[in-house]
């Protein structure tokens, strides 16, 4: 197992920005674009063109609120992803969604007839210009996203604090929106007349709209040329929706609250929710995988701790059976001999049985020994530091639960040692578990110190030091003997099995007092 490699590949596998879209995703994206084109065709050229719709003023604030919430949530999720990946591209696209959300505030305030007949702020032209700026601005963020990703998606540029990066981006985006809002409201008189009154658009509208739509086309092309991920795919769909919105706002009916206008709002809402839906789906998948991984890790840990009580109980049972048989046969033998006329034949039979059971018990003991005997097949070169890292990872939950500080001092240049990887890890897990138990009832600070050092040239010495109650001088001699335990629920097999494993590796397992308190367990491994 190569845990480090696994983590990296899974991280790549789970994050939307890196995951390549599957055929199903591509088909779905294509279907969305196709559906949008059909609606577009039906309205501009087809039978829906003549459909009359009523102005519903209440629709506008409801629409703006929904858009604001969706865009904000998308931005938050993308910022969260940035804090994991530290990729500048994610930061840029998250800012794009902040921009998209914030610009809705001046837009709704200027909309004629919502808060005031001519809008609460700005003039007649403000609403449309804010719309243009939003539709030109967001594609620019998309282009920025695509280009900064091209610069090397995995280069983690930002070295400072994540919070500062997010705060700075939000601040810059807010400043940008404020500037745009100021231009569109206070500077409304300077802007070209794109609307005639609170409802009708002017013939000038398409001249301003065309370059805005062109921005989306540019963003679409940039994404198309270098698209790789699921996020890219759905941003492309969003850019398609953006591109269609502009002509649909003007053709076939250049006024607000037309069927085209309502469709544009629907397109806008769709483009706002698409990435959000995909992100939520990703989170759901991620959550399921995370849960699965955690359960798998717990199972793995339990399986590795088999050296402890589970094995001990099995051994106890295996030895207990012949013992039971021996004691029963011995009692039977005495009874046959004690009769007024001793039944020697049956007594002999009973004693024969005892001898056989004795051999059987011997076989059980021999097979237990064989479990810990390592042969050439299972002895591989060991990366001791890697084993320590893995063991700490497996015990992480317990270490955190008992607020134990972990200090690891590993020597980078260790001689190569050989051994049974699983068994050595079992020893380490047992020692760490013991250390945790020893410290759990003690006052803080609780420090677990793991150390690896070179030993006598060709060996490695690993030490596990705790700041627990320590081991009394009286117990020091007995601690490795089977059945010795200080735990109320333990069987006292852990350390004796650990010693059996280390001795099978021609090493030594020893214990010494730690200063100022606690114990240090050390074991050696050789080439």
């Amino acid at each position: 197992m190569q845990p480090t490699a696994t983590i990296v590949s899974e991280e790549q596998e789970l994050i939307l920005s890196t995951l390549a879209p599957g055929p199903a995703q591509r088909r779905l994206a294509f279907a969305v674009v196709l559906g949008m084109l059909i609606v577009f065709g039906l309205i501009t050229a087809g039978p829906l063109a003549s459909l009359r719709t009523r102005p519903i003023t209440a629709f506008v604030p409801a629409y703006a609120t929904a858009m604001f919430v969706c865009d904000s949530i998308t931005a938050i999720l993308l910022f969260a992803q940035f804090s994991i990946l530290r990729s500048r591209a994610t930061l840029v696209i998250a800012s794009g969604y902040v921009f998209s959300a914030l610009i809705l505030i001046p837009w709704i305030l200027t909309f004629p007839g919502v808060f005031a007949p001519t809008g609460l702020i700005g003039g007649l032209q403000s609403t449309s210009w804010l719309y243009f700026f939003q539709h030109a601005g967001f594609p620019l963020f998309v282009v920025g996203y695509a280009l900064s990703r091209e610069a090397g998606f995995t280069t983690r540029i930002w070295q400072g604090s994540m919070r500062a990066a997010v705060a700075l981006s939000v601040a810059w985006t807010t400043a940008l929106v404020s500037a745009v809002a100021f231009l569109c409201t206070a500077g409304e008189a300077l802007l070209p007349r794109v609307v005639l009154n609170s409802v009708h658009l002017s013939p000038l509208w398409p001249y301003a709209g065309a370059p805005v739509a062109a921005m989306s086309v540019v963003a679409l092309i940039v994404l198309w040329r270098r698209h790789r991920s699921t996020l890219d795919l759905w941003l492309m769909v969003v850019m398609c929706l953006y591109t269609c919105e502009i002509p649909l706002s003007y053709y076939p009916m250049p006024f607000r609250f037309s069927i085209g206008w309502y469709s544009v709002r629907a397109f806008g809402f769709l483009s706002s929710t698409l990435v959000l839906i995909v992100l939520l789906f990703e989170i759901k998948t991620l959550y399921a995988k995370l849960l699965g991984a955690m359960l798998a890790q717990r199972r793995e840990r339990e399986a590795r701790l088999m050296t402890g009580d589970a094995v001990a109980a099995t051994i106890a049972h295996e030895v207990n059976q012949p013992l039971t048989s021996m004691v029963a046969s011995a009692d039977a033998g005495f009874r046959f001999l004690d009769r007024s006329v001793p039944n020697l034949e049956r007594a002999k039979e009973a004693f024969q049985r005892i001898a056989e059971d004795g051999h059987r018990a011997g076989e059980v003991v021999g097979s237990i020994r064989a479990i810990f005997k390592t042969d050439a097949r299972t002895r591989t070169p060991l990366d001791v530091n890697e084993i320590i890292r893995e063991a700490l990872a497996l015990e992480r939950t317990d270490l955190r639960k008992h607020r134990i500080l972990v200090e690891a001092e590993w020597s980078a240049h260790l001689p190569e040692v050989r051994g049974d990887r699983v068994q050595v890890q079992q020893v380490l897990l047992n020692l760490i578990t013991n250390a945790i138990h020893a410290m759990a009832a003690e006052d803080e600070p609780r420090v677990l110190c793991l150390k690896s050092e070179a030993h006598q040239g060709d060996g490695v010495i690993v030490s596990v030091a705790d700041t627990g109650a320590g081991i009394s001088a009286r117990d020091l001699d007995r601690i490795f003997t089977p059945l010795f335990t200080t735990k109320s629920d333990g069987m006292g097999m852990g350390l004796s099995i650990c010693r059996a494993i280390i001795e099978a590796h021609y090493g030594r397992l020893s214990v010494a007092p730690n200063t100022p308190r606690g114990a240090i367990f050390q074991f050696t491994l050789h080439a």
Binding site: A313, A316, H317, N320, Q321, P322, L323, T324, S325, M326, V327, A328, S329, A330, D331, A332, G333, R335, F336, R346, E349, A350, R353, E356, D357, R360
Partner: protein
């Protein structure tokens, strides 16, 4: 027990052949007749449940364990003396759906004389001991 008019018939159930045979010889040393079964099912299917005077069974067995067996046996033969032997007394504390039933428990390895005394006492019945 030698003064008993009829030799008692004891059924022994254990999935370990050697334990089974050692119990056989122990019970025979006390002049009991013994029937051996390697599983609770084997005993229930043998049809000799009606004839036995007592039952000694292991607890930990696959499919049906000693407690299950006690329950089934007592449905057919209420009051039949039952002795359970277990090598894993640590597992006895787990919660069980059914009640404890009437049995005496011996921990493996058990003292053979104690088991025989308990069996003899039970076979004599709840009334005053026969002279």
């Amino acid at each position: 027990m030698t003064d008993h008019p009829r030799r008692s018939l004891i059924a022994v159930v254990d999935d370990d052949r050697r334990v089974l045979e050692s119990l056989e010889i122990l019970l025979e040393s006390a002049d009991c007749d013994v029937r051996l079964f390697s599983s609770p099912t084997a005993l229930l299917e043998s049809g000799c449940l009606r004839e036995i005077d007592g039952l000694i069974s292991d607890v930990g067995m696959p499919v049906m364990d000693g407690f299950d067996l006690v329950r089934v046996v007592h449905e057919a033969r209420p009051g039949l003396p039952v002795f359970l032997v277990t090598g894993r007394p640590d597992l006895l504390n787990r919660p069980r759906r059914d009640g404890p039933g009437h049995y005496r428990l011996f921990k493996k390895p058990f003292n053979g004389q104690d088991l025989l005394t308990a069996v003899a006492d039970a076979l004599r019945g709840p009334g005053p001991p026969r002279s």
